[in-house]
Every structure is written in structure tokens, then in C-alpha cells.
Subunit: 607 residues, 2 copies
């Protein structure tokens, strides 16, 4: 089926939950009127629905083809990327002084969600390019910015991130690629990189590879890694293309999902004779600070992958919803009629659809909330506020990546389940979302890596302060829910339930944080045994918080009169509070058991 | 990697948890000495490891080929099935008076797990054949038994179940296939059946289709469905093959997983000219009781699909475990050394492996426990006891199917996650287990259908008596754990934790049962909104119970001296109690919220 951007849901989340008005009032965004934003969102919806969404299934069955080092993209992908470039979408949220359009990240989050929902595999190309733009914007030299950013923002060139090597995955200390300085200030880069998304393709005239490698005298470990620009074709001063560089695509991977996205093995300095003697590279920033710079890209990319989770979940939800209302099977419960009805009338199908919707909408609202914070972190006139929002945003990035992608597994799973036997048949399309989603908890740092970041940098480093500050905000929502419930009204019981479960969620976070902070003073293993559970329960509670905020808005309005849209918001929130929020308690128990468990969870005991 | 039957784990579960000795002491099993059983299990392990397991990956990439109605099995499958037949495996647990070997179902559960772990796709052929044998044994006429059972048990012929039609999936009331009586007592069958596993292939000389169809004057709905034998080739009195029947394979499905298993669209009475005028069929049992008979097959098949979940989970666990001990990445936590270690040393990898192991071993022990009950239901000398065990077994079937298959999704998911990026590459093989497992919660009745059976027939019908009886047994284990913990010893805290979480699990079941029994007096929708959560939390608690029993055995023995195997059993149990059992509480809250939720979970609110 075709994909429709959920415009009404998105607008609700932007305006009611993510303070769009506040963001548009920030210095630097004066020119973006609400009308203009609406026009951008409408055009984006039209573009992804008409030009990208139809490619999703065909790209799955017709993956890119490798031949003699050249890669031909899936049919239609080159034209679609040209249309994407022509529409100005690549530069949307980037610095206007460097060729971007400078829209808020909050709007970028929406357009990114939409295009990813249309096709995850297609969208990886702009996603990685965004990361390269972000890194060069922040740490590239003026000359590098001039040489590369316009072409990247215009979509004439695309970008990649080259971290992984066969022996160096999550552990980048083991990176072996070498970069040898040359007399002219450039470097020659040698080595093999794997799992390079859009590492080779014919959708744009050039590819800018950002590559982690070691200079000859670099120290061992992560403190000896530097970052290099290695363009596929050397870029001349005037922006035109020079010689073909010595970087080659040796093969493409055969993957479970995102088939249309070429995942390349790249050889640097394979000396194929055209240039040879190593790939020419240019140092970005200072030597040995490559990992730090790469984290700039990674943070942007991690947030973006969280958005991918929401996107594929939304697509799976739409498809399952349509099927459930179409498929007639079985009589309705609690009805005198024995006539078969659409399966959307059966309680368990309703459960599955509400579970899908709750997870998707909760994670979306949380991601928008974070994007809003990122905009305030950059644009707020008050420095204290900028700092405040920066900390908030950074706290949320691993949560959004971790929870947003893990929940997408559940949502795409349920999307298949709603289809019954038809879901297992590839032509139906539900299975593709399930396959495509599966990479999301792995790339740009597995969920465990997000959890390491969360525990190490977001909980332990500030002694749990940011977590506590967020907890106080959630508690405020609890109080508002209780006040509203006490006022009576049609939905008092529902609001009460949401308040109760949300409060239990806060307790779950507190329990986990207390254990983590205390235990980390003695040993880390018991803490990191619960790192993923802690991360996921935090995402669960914060997403539930966003839905609770939505429920408050809806419940107040519904006292004035019926509204189908708001009724659905309330239903989604109360269902989430009942079926999903209590998982937080279960996970917190597991976190807090860490010390008792640690002697039992050993390498010997998992043989 | 190759698959190894987990012989030591299986023996432990058989002897310590599933009362193998008690089963072997039953009348009818006198000839099966422990030594003979050991020999059977050893030969089975050798057979599946050497002859079936190597076909799993090749079958995935080389699915059966359809041409002009003929289906050629994946390379090697025909020879493997001949070896399977020659080994006498098909008749293993069937009636010796009808050509089977009459081994306990408990042993059949083990051999079924092993062969399914070796290849789910291969094993579906014997699995369905088992169902046909079971149905004909119980409701076939003497003449039908003589004509079909020997060939089926010898593996010369295979069997299928034909229920689904395009408009009739979970809702069999909508079956339209027709059966027209003929003067000679046979019928002519017309209609289209879909999703027919091994509906056509060249691995055996004949296929016995069991088909649901309506006779001309049959009442509407499920009470007008009859069961027919429709052989691919008509069977002569002497067992030799007669004419080709008018049943044809129109196409095979293109599926997410179990690629090597041909899923056929079958046309009955398509009149291809060879026989024409309808497929010749023979009524099984009485007219209009087809659904009841089909449930005999379905119950056997549902149990077997639960075993499939355990099997694919075990295979994924083995592969992930091997990878985790092989892959070197990152330094150990809480260590002075910065040298990279195998990822099996990292807490989150240990968490994933123990989560996989706990789910797999818990479900395995529960399935064996049920098989043991099935053997006692058939062979116990005391009628009251037979009745008691029959009720117990039937209570457990939907739990084993529902929980055993749902947990296999989590286990195969984690199996990929342990592999990181390599997991997403098809050649690694971890993704195949994930894809293959995905059908298990769908076929032979989705998890929702299992939950309907569980709530309707296993909880409401007897007013929760069987659930209560099981609860009392679990409570006994809790008391034993507490007693053992109070005695002190090295593992007192671990046993205490298990007792505490298991007791909370019992409370979760009680809360769910009380809500269900009370609420069902008023309306069903609020109950069935929580039917799947209730089913899954029951499976979770009962699996945790089995692991707790294992922990008791291990803890007592470990006081006498170290033992790596028993140490692992204890570790698995305490981990499960911490990380998995508490989910039961969360699910019970959701179940008990049904009444509050029902007004919000409507077809309109899931649009």
C-alpha cells in the first residue's frame, strides 16, 4: 500500500508537545512563519508520498548491482535522489551561511521521519550526508567547508562515515587503517573499511568519505585515531571534479534488510593503477582527535537512526491498520450478530494496533521534544538556557536511538502479526518493514553502545542530575493529571490510571539511577549488566510522559465536545499507560539486582 | 556453524524436571530401558547433526522449485527424508499396533526438538505427517488406518493439513471447499486451499492431504465442516499407488523464512484432464465433525510448533554463544588490563546470552513437563490420574505454543544482536533463524488464537481450577526454595531472589485469573484485550518455575562441590528470575485494566 504522511499527528506533536511556536520565536528563525513551515511540511509530504514511497518495495527486490567496482543503484533511485537534491531537502536544517536553509532541527526531524518512512534504504544516503555536513561544519577548515559543503548541501555529492574494519566494530581502539603524511600537506590512506553505507553508488557525481585512520606516530588505542576526508574523485578548488582517487568498492554485502542501500567493503590504497600509491586524504581538524570529531557525526546520526525507528514503525502501523479494517474474519465479541466483521473489531487486534501506535507516537513525541531542545541549545538568547537545553538534548540522544529503534522491532513484529499468514508472504510488504527495521538497533552503535553512553556520560558523569531534572518535569505532569482527574469528567479514571503508572515509571527510573550511582563506586560490571534495561525503561517512561501530556490536552478538550482525533490520542495514552509503562518496573528490578547477579553472570556461565 | 544437540541439557531436563524415570515405568513402556532411550537419543543426535543440520542454510538459499505443478525439493532434502524414513524416525512415538514404535511422547519431544533445531524447514514435513498419523489413528476407520498409516509411518508417504482458504484463515466458519458424495461412498472435493505446508514435493512417493470441506446439505459455520482424506495418488488396497488424483499445486509462496519448506496453493477439482471431475476424497469419521477431528491434529501440531520455537531458539543460542566467545572486542570492565577480550566477557553480552538461555531452557523444561503429562494421560494405570494428566497437558498446549514461539522471537532477535553488524549479513546465518522463527507465532493458530483457547477452554470452562492446581505446585517450589535459602549456603541469596520473584509470578497469574473469571460474567471484550498478555505471563511463570526447580537441584548439589554445568543451571535460573519473571507483573496489570480500557479500545480508536 502507499504511504501517507500522518500530517495531523505530526502537527499535534509539534505544536502541543514540542513547542514549535517557541522554537520559531528563537533568534535566527524569524523568517520562518508558521505558514511557511506548513508549506514546507506539505511539500515534503507530497514529495515523499509520490516520489520516494513507491520505490520502497521495488528497491527491496532489485538491490544495487556491483560490477568491477562500480555500483548501479536500484531502479529509480538516481532520479529520486536528483529530485531530492532539486527540492533542496539535503540542506534543509544546515547553516545558511554555508549553503543550507537553516530550518529548525525540529522541522528537519519531521522531514527526516517522512522520507525514512517512505524508504529507509533510500534515506540512508541523505542521512549519512547530513552527518558529513555536520562534522565539516563544526570542525572542517574554511577551505574544506568551501570545497565540500556546497556540493554536499546541493545533493551533487554524497557523504559516508568510514569507521568499521573487520577487527574493529564497537571497539574502535582496534582501527588499523593508516594515513601517511605527504610533502604537500595531504596524506595517503591505506586500509580496508567494511559496512560502509552508500560507500559506492551512481546516484551522485562524487562521494566524500570521512575516514578514521592512524598517522605513523599515533599512540595506540582511540587516542591515536585521526579523521580524514577521502573523496572518491578529488575536488578541485573551483568545485569541479579531478582525478579518481585510490578508493575502491570490493563488494557489497547481502543483507537481511534495507536491500536497496549499498553496504560496501571499501579498499583504500588498493592501487588499482589509476591513481595508486594510496588514497589521497586530507586531515580534518587536529591529528589524533578523530574519534571526538566522529562523535559529532555519530550524535547526529544516532538521533537520525532513532527517527528511522519511528519512521519504519509508522509505516508498519499504517499498513497493519489498513489491513485490520479491510480483512473480514470472525464475529464480534459481545454481539448478538454472528456475521463476520473486520478484524479491527477484535480485542487482540485492537491491542496490537494500540501497542504499535502508542510506541510509535510516544517515541515520535519524545524525539520532537529533543529536537526542540537542540534548537534551543543553539538559538536561545540566554547562555544558561542554551547550556540547559544542550545537556537535555545530549541526555536524550542515546534514549531516542536506543528506545526508538528497539520499539521499532516490536512495532514491525506486531505489524506482521496483525496480517496473520499474509504477513509472512513477502509480497504483502509487512515483512520488509520487519527486515529493514532490524539493522536499526545495530548500526551507529548497538543498543548496548547507546546504553554505555547513557550510563557513562549521561548518568554517572553528572551524578544523575539531568535525570533528576527530567524526573521533576514528569512529576509535574503527574500532578496535572491528578488535578484534572479530581475535577471529574468523562475521562477521570483514565487520567488517574495514566498518573498512577507514570508515577510508578518515575520510581523505576529513580530505583535504577540510585543503584547505578551507588554501585558504580565499587564495580562497573553489575551496573552494565543493567545498562540496556535502564536505557530502555527510561525511553519507555519518557515516551509515556509525552503521551500523558497529549492525554491531558485531549481530555481537557474532550470535556467541551467529541473529537475523533483527540479521542484516539487519549485512547493511545491510556493503553500505553496500562500495557507498556509497567514494563519499566520489571526492568528496574532487573537493574537493581545487578550486584546479586554479577557473580553468576560470567564468561564461564554463558558457555 | 554446525549444530550440536545439547545432550547434557536435555538429559538434565528429562531426568530432573520431566520425570523420565516415572514415564518409563508406565505400563506399555516396559521394554524401553534407560539404556535403550540413551541409545535412541545418541543416534538421533548423530543423525540430525550429520544429515540434517548441514541442509539448513543451503535450503534457505535454494528453495524448492515449482514447474508445471511439480515441485522439486531443495537440494539434498529428498535424500535426507529417505534417511529419516529409513531411520524409523517418523513412527517413533506412534502406536506400535499400527506400525509405530510406541516410544513416549517425552522422547518424541526431544527428537522433534533436535530435528527442528537442525532445520525447521525440513522438519515441517515430518511434523505435518505426525499430525495426519495422529488424526487417522484416533478417528480413521480400520480400513483407512490399514491403507494409510503404514506408508505414513514408514516415511514412504507424507501428510498435510488443508484448512485455510483465502477468505478463511483464523475463521474456519468461512470454509467454502465442497465435497459431493458419490455412489461408491467416496466424495468429489472442489475448492482452493492456501498456505499448505509441503502441499507438493518430490521427497516421497505420495502425499495424503487431510482436507476440510462442506457436504451439500451441511449447516453453515463450523458445524458444517467435514474432514476428508484426499491422496495425491489414489491408494490401492495393497498399498501400491493408483491414479493421480485431481489435486494440483498452482504455485508456491515467496516467504520471509523457512524457504526450503514448500508452501503450496492447492486446487482440488481443477480438472486438469488426468482424472478430472473433482478430487476423490474419503470422509474421515462422521460428517460435520471435521473441525473437532482437525483439532486432534491441531493440538498435536500446536505442541510441535511450540517445540519448534524451542528448537530454533537453541540453535540461535548456540551460534551466538560461539560467536561471543570467538569475537574479540574491547577491554574487560573492572580489570586493570586494557587488552581486548572476547565479547563474552562484557556484561551486556552476558545479559543477552543468559536471556536467550533462560527463555530457551525454561520453555524446553516446560514442554518436556507437558509431554511427560501426555504420556501419563495415556499410560497411567489409574483412570483418575489419566484424567488429571490429560487436563494438565491440555492446559499446557496453548501455553507451550504461545510462549514457546513468542520467546523464540526474542531469542533469535538477541542472537542477531550478539553478532552486531555481522548478524545482519545473511551469510552469517543468524538472520535465517530470525526469519525462520517468525512464522511460528502465526501458523497452527496465531498467538491470539492460542490465547482464545487458553482463556475460553482452559480458564473459563473449569472456573480456573487447573490454573489453581498448577499454582499450588509452583507455590510448593517457592516453599522449597525458601527452606533451602534459610539453610544458608553459598547460593542462599540467589534462591531467595528466585523464590521472591516466582511468588510474585504466582500473584500475577492469580490477579489475571480473578479478573478474567469475574469480568467474563459481564462482557468478553475486556477479557480478550488481555488474553495474549495472560497467556504469555502464564508461560513466563511456568517456565520460570521449571528453572527454579532446576536451581534447587543445582544449589543442593553445589553445596557438595563445584560443577560447571550445575553452576550454569543456577546462573540461568537466577538471571531469569531477575530479568524475565518480573515481566509477569507488568502483563498482569495490563490484563486487570481490561474493564477500564475497553471503552477506549474500539475499532474507531484504532483507525
Amino acid at each position: 500500500m502507499s504511504y501517507r504522511v500522518p500530517v495531523e499527528d505530526i502537527r499535534f506533536a509539534l505544536k502541543q508537545l514540542a513547542d514549535l511556536d517557541g522554537v520559531l520565536a528563537l533568534p535566527g528563525f524569524e523568517e520562518f512563519s508558521p505558514d511557511l513551515i506548513d508549506a514546507v511540511l506539505e511539500e515534503n509530504a507530497r514529495f515523499v508520498e509520490q516520489e520516494i514511497a513507491p520505490l520502497n518495495q521495488s528497491g527491496d527486490t532489485q538491490p544495487p548491482q556491483w560490477k568491477d567496482g562500480h555500483v548501479t543503484a536500484s531502479p529509480g533511485f538516481k532520479a529520486a535522489f536528483e529530485a531530492f537534491a532539486a527540492g533542496g531537502w539535503q540542506g534543509l536544517q544546515h547553516d545558511p551561511e554555508l549553503g543550507g536553509q537553516g530550518l529548525p532541527k525540529l522541522i528537519g526531524a519531521v522531514t527526516s521521519e517522512n522520507i525514512n518512512a517512505a524508504s529507509l534504504a533510500f534515506s540512508l544516503c541523505p542521512l549519512l550526508t547530513d552527518g558529513v555536513i555536520e562534522a565539516l561544519t563544526l570542525v572542517g577548515s574554511d577551505e574544506q567547508k568551501e570545497r565540500y559543503l556546497p556540493a554536499l548541501m546541493e545533493g551533487r555529492w554524497t557523504g559516508t562515515m568510514n569507521l568499521t574494519e573487520p577487527q574493529a566494530g564497537s571497539d574502535l581502539a582496534q582501527v588499523k587503517a593508516r594515513a601517511v603524511p605527504q610533502d604537500d600537506g595531504s596524506y595517503r590512506v591505506y586500509g580496508q573499511k567494511i559496512f560502509i553505507t552508500y560507500g559506492e553508488h551512481d546516484m551522485a557525481e562524487n562521494i566524500v568519505h570521512l575516514v578514521l585512520a592512524r598517522t605513523p606516530d599515533a599512540p595506540a588505542g582511540v587516542k591515536g585515531i585521526s579523521l580524514f576526508i577521502v573523496p572518491k574523485f578529488l575536488a578541485k578548488q573551483d568545485g569541479s571534479l579531478g582525478e579518481r582517487n585510490d578508493v575502491w568498492c570490493a563488494s557489497l554485502e547481502h543483507k537481511l534488510g534495507i536491500h536497496a542501500s549499498p553496504t560496501a567493503v571499501l579498499l583504500f590504497g588498493a592501487d588499482k593503477g589509476e591513481v595508486g600509491e594510496g588514497a589521497i586524504g586530507y586531515l580534518v581538524g587536529q591529528e589524533n582527535r578523530g574519534l571526538e570529531y566522529m562523535f559529532i557525526m555519530m550524535n547526529a546520526a544516532r538521533y537520525a537512526v532513532g527517527i528511522q525507528g519511528i519512521a519504519v514503525a509508522e509505516r508498519a502501523l499504517q499498513q497493519a491498520t489498513a489491513y485490520a479494517h479491510d480483512r473480514v474474519q470472525g464475529a464480534a465479541l459481545d454481539s448478538d450478530s454472528r456475521a463476520a466483521v473486520s478484524i479491527a473489531h477484535h480485542p487482540d487486534v485492537q491491542r496490537m494496533l494500540l501497542q504499535m501506535r502508542g510506541l510509535t507516537e510516544g517515541a515520535r513525541a519524545l524525539a520532537y521534544y529533543a529536537a526542540s531542545a537542540a534548537d534551543k541549545a543553539r538559538h536561545h538568547p540566554d547562555e544558561q538556557q542554551r547550556k540547559h537545553y544542550k545537556t537535555l538534548y545530549e541526555f536524550l540522544v542515546p534514549v531516542i536511538k536506543g528506545f526508538g529503534t528497539e520499539m521499532s522491532q516490536e512495532v514491525t513484529y506486531l505489524g506482521m502479526q496483525v496480517h496473520g499468514g499474509m504477513g509472512f508472504i513477502e509480497e504483502t510488504g509487512a515483512a520488509q518493514h520487519y527486515r529493514d527495521a532490524r539493522i536499526l538497533t545495530i548500526y551507529e552503535g548497538t543498543t548496548a553502545i547507546q546504553a554505555n553512553d547513557f550510563i557513562g556520560r549521561k548518568i554517572l558523569r553528572d551524578g544523575g542530575q539531568q535525570a533528576q531534572a527530567l524526573g521533576a518535569l514528569v512529576q509535574e505532569t503527574v500532578e496535572q493529571l491528578i488535578t484534572q482527574a479530581k475535577a471529574g469528567g468523562k475521562h477521570a479514571r483514565a487520567l488517574e490510571l495514566i498518573a498512577q503508572r507514570l508515577e510508578a515509571g518515575i520510581e523505576a527510573v529513580k530505583l535504577s539511577a540510585t543503584f547505578t550511582l551507588t554501585q558504580a563506586q565499587h564495580a562497573f560490571s553489575p551496573v552494565f549488566l543493567g545498562s540496556v534495561p535502564f536505557l530502555l525503561l527510561t525511553g519507555n517512561v519518557l515516551s509515556g510522559w509525552q503521551l500523558a501530556r497529549a492525554a491531558l490536552v485531549a481530555a481537557v478538550a474532550l470535556e467541551q465536545g467529541d473529537d475523533e482525533f483527540l479521542q484516539r490520542k487519549l485512547a493511545t495514552a491510556v493503553f500505553y499507560a496500562s500495557h507498556i509503562l509497567p514494563r519499566a518496573d520489571a526492568l528496574a528490578l532487573a537493574v537493581a539486582d545487578g550486584e546479586l547477579l554479577a557473580p553468576y553472570t560470567t564468561a564461564e556461565n554463558v558457555k
